[in-house]
């Protein structure tokens, strides 16, 4: 008797749970699982002229291999991540340490750092577009004051990618600052006082006490920063359109171009798989690290 009761409760639980999950699962299937699977499938197979499907992974990989724009986008994106991630993280940490101190006007300063985060990337790019412009741009005019010849920052292949990076760092640092600030404020004050007594030197305390406590936050911010480096390409639409000559193109921007400017959905699917693999790698790293070194509460 109690056994059947338990069984019926279990099955009613099962039905109830799936009723609650149904809307989310349907939507996830339509806009996450099926599209991801479809990208995977389309990168394995190709349709030939007669309309028949055949296995074409090798051909597709060769297409990638011989596509210089793909390699350009990939290396650009890796450089982009390699520079913007540490730069915005270090700035974020420094900002957070600053605005965690008590002084007059602290909240104004905190606001200044955070404000760029609240702008759409497109609006931020509009502002920076003017700074970078060759003749009338603010950068070149400031440089001219010091007698330095400016550059065509966005029009020169050697500087275009750097120009987009600088904007990204300006935009993101304040966002990551918030997470460091939250972590700093979560450190109990008794612990802080104890550390102050033990080690009066600020930098010693920072290195041996504060930074280790920020470990989980650093991992969280790091993963988020890397993901941002691969998924935020809005500014390219305004600043460079990936140019000149693909010098500043990024993977997701190239996917957009392939699908919606060159109308090659098949190749876009292969590029999408590359992006998904990179994002998957990020998650794997996060998983491995969060289970190993960085302790969670």
């Amino acid at each position: 008797m109690p056994n059947t009761l338990l069984n019926s409760m279990r099955s009613s639980n099962f039905a109830f749970a799936w009723m609650l999950l149904l809307p989310a699962m349907v939507l996830l299937s339509c806009f996450t699982y099926f599209p991801a699977f479809s990208a995977f499938y389309n990168s394995l197979f190709a349709t030939d002229f007669s309309g028949a499907r055949h296995f074409a992974l090798q051909d597709n990989l060769l297409d990638l291999y011989y596509d210089p724009v793909f390699w350009r986008a990939l290396t650009n994106n890796l450089w982009y991540a390699l520079i913007t991630v540490p730069a915005s993280m270090i700035l974020a940490l420094v900002m957070a340490l600053w605005v965690n101190e008590k002084f007059l006007g602290r909240s104004l300063l905190r606001l200044s750092f955070f404000l760029p985060t609240m702008l759409p990337m497109v609006a931020a790019a509009n502002i920076w577009m003017f700074f970078y412009s060759p003749n009338i741009g603010l950068f070149n005019r400031v440089l001219a004051v010091f007698g330095i010849q400016g550059a065509n920052w966005l029009g020169d292949p050697s500087t275009a990618l750097w120009a987009t990076m600088l904007l990204a760092i300006w935009k993101e640092a304040g966002f990551f600052m918030i997470f460091y600030l939250a972590a700093l404020q979560a450190i109990p004050s008794e612990l802080n006082d104890a550390a102050r007594l033990e080690a009066p030197g600020y930098f010693y305390r920072l290195r041996r006490f504060i930074l280790p406590l920020l470990g989980p936050t650093t991992l969280f911010v790091f993963i988020n920063a890397v993901i941002h480096a691969f998924k935020v390409v809005d500014h390219l639409f305004i600043l460079t359109k990936g140019g000149p000559n693909n010098a500043s193109t990024l993977l997701l921007y190239y996917i957009y171009e392939t699908a919606f400017a060159f109308f090659d959905a098949g190749y876009a699917a292969i590029l999408t798989m590359v992006l998904l693999l990179l994002l998957g790698l990020c998650s794997a790293i996060q998983f491995a690290l969060s289970h190993k070194r960085v302790h969670y509460r």
């Binding site: 639980n13 109830f16 749970a17 799936w18 609650l20 999950l21 809307p23 989310a24 699962m25 939507l27 996830l28 339509c30 806009f31 996450t32 099926f34 599209p35 991801a36 479809s38 900002m95 600053w98 605005v99 101190e101 002084f103 006007g105 300063l109 404000l115 760029p116 609240m118 702008l119 759409p120 990337m121 497109v122 609006a123 931020a124 509009n126 502002i127 577009m129 003017f130 603010l138 918030i178 939250a182 972590a183 404020q185 936050t217 993901i227 998924k231 390409v233 809005d234 639409f237 997701l252 996917i255 957009y256 959905a265 876009a268 699917a269 999408t272 992006l275 994002l279 990020c282 998650s283």
Partner: protein, 287 residues
């Protein structure tokens, strides 16, 4: 502090104190310089929006202030329509997100069923396989639903938000089981318990999630660019990008004014509810 330990160190302590305060002072100065650099682009845009294009370029601080740029910008693009579209789309999306995520999070937090861990893991997959990466495939999917160039088309891929489900599940799990049991004894149904016990107790999480989601989707650009093609549904970010494109050829002053119109509503909201916004981002990050 006891006198005995304090006395022998007076001389060296005061020396250390001056060194410390000098360090502190230079530290704070550096902070303010960086802070000033950080808002400088925004201040400059604000100033340029009220000056003619050529005055803005030559940074003539004595130039007269005028509202002409705003009038031009206003006439050149349907900003009201764009802003309305953004507002309508974000409202639709947020109400769908909250409904769908509440139901799913409750099942994952408080209903025992087989395979729950697996379902949760599959939901979290969306944090990695994000809608941004799937624009090509999702475009085809939205086309199947005949929802291209509609608010629904912009909103749908983001409705089942893994992040929202994760946050709400976390909040629901902190509600003491005894509260649920007591409410059940009182005769509430299971859905009643969700609505009358869990949802009210998770209010701070709802606020945090709503503000984070709101600011993300208000500013979202790539997907709306892909999925909209007329003024009927185009949100402000896409409208602003069109307005600033070289083909339109607006000058720097008008572009600044347009940008300012575009960012004003969200920025005003942020400045008014600064604390809540920042607190929300902090809470969302700590979980």
């Amino acid at each position: 502090m006891s006198m005995l330990t304090a006395i022998p160190n007076t001389a060296s302590a005061s020396g250390a104190n001056t060194a410390l305060s000098i360090m502190r002072l230079s530290n704070i100065t550096a902070a303010w310089i960086l802070g000033f650099l950080w808002v400088l682009p925004l201040l400059y845009m604000l100033w340029a929006a009220f000056h003619t294009g050529s005055d803005a370029i030559y940074f003539d601080l004595s130039a007269p202030w005028s509202l002409d740029n705003f009038r031009h910008a206003w006439e050149m693009a349907p900003f009201v329509r764009y802003l309305f579209n953004t507002f309508a789309m974000v409202t639709l999306l947020l109400s769908l997100q909250i409904t769908v995520c509440t139901l799913a999070a409750f099942a994952l937090a408080r209903v025992e069923f087989r395979g729950r861990q697996w379902v949760f893991a599959f939901v979290l997959l969306q944090m990695m396989v994000m809608p941004e990466a799937l624009i090509t495939e999702n475009y085809q999917m939205v086309a199947r639903f005949n929802a291209i160039d509609t608010y629904w088309g912009i909103a749908l891929p983001y409705v089942a938000s893994a992040f929202g489900i994760f946050l709400l599940r976390q909040a629901f799990m902190q509600v003491p089981q005894e509260l649920e049991d007591a409410a059940r004894v009182e005769g509430l149904s299971r859905l009643g318990v969700l609505l009358k016990v869990y949802v009210p107790l998770a209010k701070p999480t709802y606020l945090a999630y709503a503000l984070v989601s709101l600011s993300h989707h208000w500013n979202n650009f790539l997907w709306p660019l892909v999925i909209t093609n007329t003024t009927d549904s185009r949100p402000i970010t896409v409208g602003l990008a069109l307005f600033g494109s070289p083909e339109v050829g607006v000058d720097w002053g008008v572009l600044s004014a347009g940008t300012l119109i575009a960012i004003a509503p969200l920025l005003a909201m942020f400045l008014l509810f600064q604390r809540q916004f920042m607190q929300s981002f902090m809470n969302a990050g700590l979980k």
